[in-house]
């Protein structure tokens, strides 16, 4: 079992390009960043490739991290998300304008969702179409504002809102479908 280091130690060691701390950073944070890459890239092999680029980017820019401005995890997550968006932007993405959905009250049973493995929940989100999945991830999971999403993705703020709205509706439909299937409860 590799020794766990404080974040201050890791940052200081990585700033001096000490291999021990660079390795500790990879050991302690790769899984977190890999999960983010999977959420945005959908495909695990692509996510793995991208993860390497993200780790390199973090290690090369680690001296720019300022603990007073936010947490280290938040900082590396943001770098990873930006790298993902950059990569997605280069890919062929055909955003199909979909019909808007009406905001409505939605009830669900959290005890049923609790039985689902987190990986399965991520797979459900990954079924959202390109363009919608990213907005949903950024707005709902990663807490970006629509203004920030618009800037990062190169779309209008209004478009971000409409995509989020549609993504939520699609997700609810999927979850409702699953809730209606008895076998689904035992998939965890």
């Amino acid at each position: 079992m590799a020794k766990k280091y404080d974040i201050q130690e890791i940052v200081a060691g990585c700033c001096k390009q000490q291999a021990k701390y660079q390795r500790a950073f990879v050991d302690q944070y790769s899984d977190l960043l890999y999960a983010i890459c999977i959420r945005y890239m959908r495909d695990r092999s692509f996510a793995k490739d991208l993860l390497q680029e993200c780790l390199m980017r973090v290690l090369k820019n680690i001296e720019k991290f300022d603990a007073e401005l936010g947490s280290f995890e938040g900082w590396i997550s943001t770098i990873t998300i930006r790298q993902c968006l950059k990569k997605i932007d280069k890919k062929k993405i055909h955003v199909i304008p979909l019909e808007p959905s009406q905001e409505m009250d939605y009830s669900f049973n959290p005890t049923v969702l609790d039985t689902i493995n987190t990986k399965v929940l991520i797979d459900i989100i990954n079924t959202l179409p390109d363009g919608y999945r990213e907005v949903f991830n950024m707005a709902v999971i990663d807490g970006f504002s629509h203004e920030e999403i618009g800037r990062q993705m190169g779309i209008k703020e209004a478009s971000s809102r409409s995509r989020l709205s549609r993504a939520k509706a699609m997700l609810r439909e999927k979850i409702t479908e699953l809730q209606n299937q008895e076998s689904w409860v035992n998939t965890a």
Binding site: A19, A35, Q52, V95, I122, V140, I141, S159, K168
Partner: protein, 470 residues
């Protein structure tokens, strides 16, 4: 069953979620900056090795030549002895004896003068020679038989015989046995090491008026001074600069079926071109036919990458909103739901030239056969190779053009093999050579576990210039 916000719930579950990943593999794949400094360190070590070899080659030349001369004298003396007892054969005139012609003169003069002055002592010496089977040469004792027996001359000769400068001659004392020739630290041997010494000795003899013998000795010494010293065996070391041009055959092997599409794209978009090689080497000739060689080479394998990428992006136009018309209970509702997105598709077609770089240390064994100035040679060269990675652009797993990715290609060590057949032409110290060559790297340049093995073999030729060290 209560009412919860699904979004909040998902955020709580998914944010901060971690996915297992093999960090050992990931760490190996990362290309961190400090690792790139290795080639310079290796280059420095090889240059140091090269400098040491040249230094060693320069230093021991004299001492080796001295011992060669000494051995030649011994052989020559053997011939002289055989001549004295009537067993001399013409066939025994080797190249070594001819190279010692001036010394032979001195020795003959010494013998003649000895026989003239003291036949008794010569007979005595010859008798002793027969017993010891050693040459009849001038020693302290034979000098002691000269008519002029001056103590000072004798003491000077003794001093010479024990002079540390002539250490190689003194070492023979142990194996020489007893008798007149029991001390081969003779005048002749000493003269062989330093013509100036013999000149000094001659002048010393003149000072003490050692009749005609000293004049003859002086003449012989003059001959020594004016003729070239005995020719040595040729220096076995030589250095060369070499350049090579090869036709490259690249082989891609798919080892992971998931990369079949990527494999197909790369086969379509990448073409191997030529390889160039530049290097220096140092050669040591073991004998007239066999030699060994090593050095340092840089090799670049060039490729062409034909790219065709379609990039699609979306954009908005102001004043072009999506307006949805919904008919509900007979009424028409017009709803503005945002700006319309337009798809912009752009196709790029271009070419890029890539290369894979290697630093090689060849360890060659060669055979040559010479006729006049021409030599034909064959060499087998295992190569210790340091692959410096891929430089350029290629298609990545996303189908985009990308630069170097350590997950695909990274620095690594490996082995190679090269076979040369060539011809060379000697121009004094210089030697120009041309050698058709076949080479293969015995390792895949792509990263282990990447899924596509990439191997190279090539055929071409080397041309170079060799300088024989003095």
């Amino acid at each position: 069953m209560g009412k919860y916000s699904l979004e909040e719930y998902l955020k709580g579950r998914i944010r901060g979620h971690r996915e297992d990943i093999d960090t050992d593999e990931l760490w190996k794949a990362l290309d961190l900056e400090p690792k790139k400094k290795k080639p310079w360190w290796i280059l420095g070590a090889v240059l140091l090795l090269l400098a040491t070899c040249i230094g060693v080659q320069q230093y021991p030349t004299k001492s080796r030549n001295y011992s060669q001369i000494e051995n030649s004298i011994e052989k020559k003396s053997d011939i002289e002895q055989k001549n004295n007892i009537g067993q001399h054969k013409e066939s025994q005139k080797t190249s070594e004896t001819t190279s010692l012609e001036p010394l032979k003169k001195v020795e003959k003069i010494a013998e003649n003068t000895t026989s003239q002055s003291s036949n008794n002592s010569l007979e005595q010496a010859q008798n002793t020679n027969k017993k010891a089977t050693k040459p009849a040469v001038i020693t302290e004792e034979s000098v002691g038989n000269y008519p002029v027996r001056h103590e000072q001359v004798k003491s000077k000769l003794e001093e010479l015989a024990t002079d540390k400068v002539y250490k190689p001659a003194l070492t023979n004392e142990k194996k020489s046995g007893e008798g007149v020739v029991g001390k081969p630290s003779t005048l002749i041997n000493q003269a062989a090491y330093n013509p100036i010494k013999i000149a000094w000795l001659t002048s010393l003899l003149n000072v003490f008026n050692i009749d005609q013998r000293s004049i003859k000795m002086q003449e012989a010494t003059e001959t020594i001074k004016h003729e070239n010293p005995p020719s040595d065996k040729q220096n076995p070391w030589s250095i060369a600069g070499v350049g090579g041009l090869y036709y490259v055959d690249r082989e891609l092997n798919l080892t992971n079926d998931n990369l079949a599409e990527h494999f197909g794209i790369r086969n379509r978009t990448e073409t191997s071109l030529e390889s160039i090689m530049l290097g220096v080497n140092i050669r040591y000739e073991i004998n007239d036919h066999w030699y060994i060689k090593s050095g340092l080479e840089f090799q670049s394998i060039n490729e062409r990458f034909n790219v065709q990428i379609t990039n699609d992006s979306t954009f908005f136009k102001d004043n072009e909103p999506i307006i949805l018309l919904v008919e509900e209970t007979g009424d028409t509702i017009i709803q503005d739901i945002g700006l319309a997105e337009f798809l912009n598709s752009r196709t790029e077609i271009w070419e890029h030239y890539n290369n894979h770089r290697f630093i090689n240390v060849p360890l060659s064994l060669g055979f040559k056969s010479s006729k006049n100035a021409w030599s034909f040679f064959a060499e087998a060269s295992p190569l210790i190779s340091y692959y410096q990675g891929f430089h350029g652009r290629m298609i990545n797993l996303d189908g985009d053009a990308t630069t170097r990715n350590p997950a695909y290609f990274n620095n690594k060590w490996g082995l190679g093999l090269r076979l040369n057949l060539g011809v060379s032409y000697q121009l004094k110290q210089w030697n120009v050579f041309v050698a058709p060559s076949a080479q293969q790297y015995l390792f895949s340049v792509s990263q282990d576990g990447f899924g596509i093995d990439q191997n190279y073999r090539m055929i071409g030729g080397n041309i170079g210039l060799r300088y024989k060290l003095n």
